[in-house]
Amino acid sequence: METSVKFEDLTKEFEDVVAVDHLNLKIEKGEFFALLGPSGCGKTTTLRLIAGLEQPTEGKIFLNNEDVSSYPPKERDVAMVFQDYALYPHMTISENIGYPLKVRGVAKEDRQERIKEAAENLQIGELLDRRPSQLSGGQQQRVSVARALVHEPSVFLFDEPLSNLDARLRIEARTFLRHLQKELGITTIYVTHDQSEALALADRIAIMEAGQARQVDAAQKVYHEPADTFVANFVGSPPMNLLQCRVNMEGETPILETENNTISFTNLENRLQRLKERDELILGIRPEDMDLTLNVDQDEQLTGLVGEIYAVETLGAQVLFSVKIGNSMIRVREMSSEKVSQLAVGDDVSVEINEDRVLYYDAEDKALIN
């Protein structure tokens, strides 16, 4: 596939902070690509480097195979949508959308036509004579996308464009953006700190921390196989449970000892190799891959993970249990049901793990063990 954007050792330093640290990435033509990470991870700086609003300290940026590292913004053929929409309050919607064309000296009739086309694409054709202050947040957001669209850039840059919308509108705008991007097929780079937004929108996601990409993969893969514990802990709501444990070999059978429990898995063959040679591991288990059972008989000697329910929270059709096991807290998500509704705070429970879904991370470098 054709490459649309490429970084080679892209680095940006601000006084004493390295915001982007030797980043190497390729983004395909037509791809919806998300830069995801906590604040200060360098994702916005990366976007601004692509736009030319910042100059790289080191490294190169290629757009459509051309080295644009030293080009000013206007020569890069990109369009940017800002978090605050950046609409000019004294211009009408039509003037706002047409501004990039006006600056580039497009003739008035031609301009009018392209404004109309962009506005219809965004379903805001009837708002053209209003001013930004007369529009709702969702409509303003669409106007800012229309303005980016109108000069037919080869790359779209989005800087947290949905974060000023309320929860309901955000979901609607998300669906709309996802649909629009697939329809137009314009390469899109999307910065967000919201993992659910990145999962929902992007074809591929780069999860960033401290200026580096921890994982670059498709949304499903990022969710189901986080490359390290940072990603595992950042993606998912609530995030993956991470359990520190020691490996104890009883002959050929590995036993995992956690703080005050032992776990042994039945289906051993495929795990044996990766468990055998290590002393310490971190288990990663998503909350939906576990199940709770009430311990009726308190005297019985229990195996597996046992603990006490710390809190019960309703999540719509599901219920989230926080279970205190020694000093760690495990979160278990269950579909609400007759059985589940009987579990209450303070109950002693066993946690069953869906063995096939367990991931193993190295206790040293925190990376996924394959």
């Binding site: 913004p73 369009a79 940017m80 800002f82």
Partner: protein, 283 residues
């Protein structure tokens, strides 16, 4: 934070004072402007609009009025607001020692009493010993007696210097109210500096520019300190309205006429204030 009753209890005397000190003097001035009250005359009599007739037929009054408007236009509107806006834009979103230095120097200009400034200026512009003429002398030119030969120019430059800092600081804050994304959007689409000024800065700072012009116009119109520099002279070349009032009302004790001039100044100021307010409301 405070109950309505307590607030009223504290406010009543404040209101009475404001009434006495602000509203009453205005009426008092208007009343006296219709009399021949003077420390030179024996008794005070009501003489109708005679003071105003005298005023409006006096060449000296018209001279003062025209000078005042000249002074305001060149030193406040063109000078302070223009220089202030230019400096604010130069430093917008920049940082570094240069910005700090200029800002500190601007604020520092307020530390110095007008009297001292006027004094330093008088020394600076002095014909024989002044620094300016000595510099000019180095280049082989003959010095000029600045305060006597270009007196209006001297007090205009003096007032620009005194006031540009205010406009600069006001516009610096004002520019911060424009989100950076507005400039960056313009950068990405390739707008020039002039595009940005025309399409972003001027339309979005209209209110600030209006307020700034209103304030500095009024301040400059009412400024008495040029008196320190030129005493209204030479001749009457720098006798702006406040200095003219001073001569009439304080120096020669023609209180009735002084009241009439005061009334005219009040009227001009109110008109200016209303024009600006109207402009600001239209936004």
């Amino acid at each position: 934070m405070i109950s309505k009753k307590t607030a009223f209890f504290f406010l009543l005397p404040a209101l009475v004072l404001i009434f006495i000190f602000l509203i009453f003097p205005a009426f008092w001035t208007l009343y006296y402007s219709l009399t021949d009250y003077s420390l030179l005359g024996a008794s005070t009599e009501f003489i109708g609009v005679q003071n105003f007739i005298n005023l409006f037929t006096s060449a000296r009054f018209w001279n003062a009025t025209i000078l005042s408007f000249e002074f305001v236009f060149f030193s406040a509107i063109i000078g302070q607001a223009g220089v202030g806006l230019l400096l604010a834009m130069l430093f917008h979103r920049k940082s570094g020692w240069l910005k700090k230095l200029v800002r500190n120097l601007a604020v520092a200009s307020w530390l110095i009493p007008a009297v001292v400034v006027a004094y330093a200026w008088a020394a600076f512009l002095d014909k024989e010993y002044g620094l300016l003429n000595q510099i000019i002398g180095i280049f082989g030119f003959t010095g000029i007696d600045w305060l006597n030969e270009v007196p209006m120019g001297s007090i205009i430059i003096f007032n620009i210097w005194r006031g540009a800092a205010f406009s600069m600081l006001l516009f610096t804050s004002a520019l911060k109210t424009i989100p950076p994304s507005h400039f960056e959007t313009a950068d990405v689409v390739g707008a020039s500096l002039w595009d940005k000024i025309k399409d972003i800065v001027l339309p979005q700072l209209k209110t600030f520019i209006g307020s700034d012009l209103a304030l500095i116009t009024l301040w400059t119109f009412n400024l008495f300190t040029p008196f320190l520099l030129t005493g209204g002279g030479p001749g009457r070349q720098t006798e702006i309205l406040p200095i003219y009032t001073y001569f009439k009302a304080f120096k020669y004790m023609e209180f009735g006429l002084g009241a009439a001039i005061s009334a005219v100044i009040l009227f001009i100021n109110l008109t200016l204030a209303l024009v600006y307010l109207n402009y600001l409301k239209a936004e």
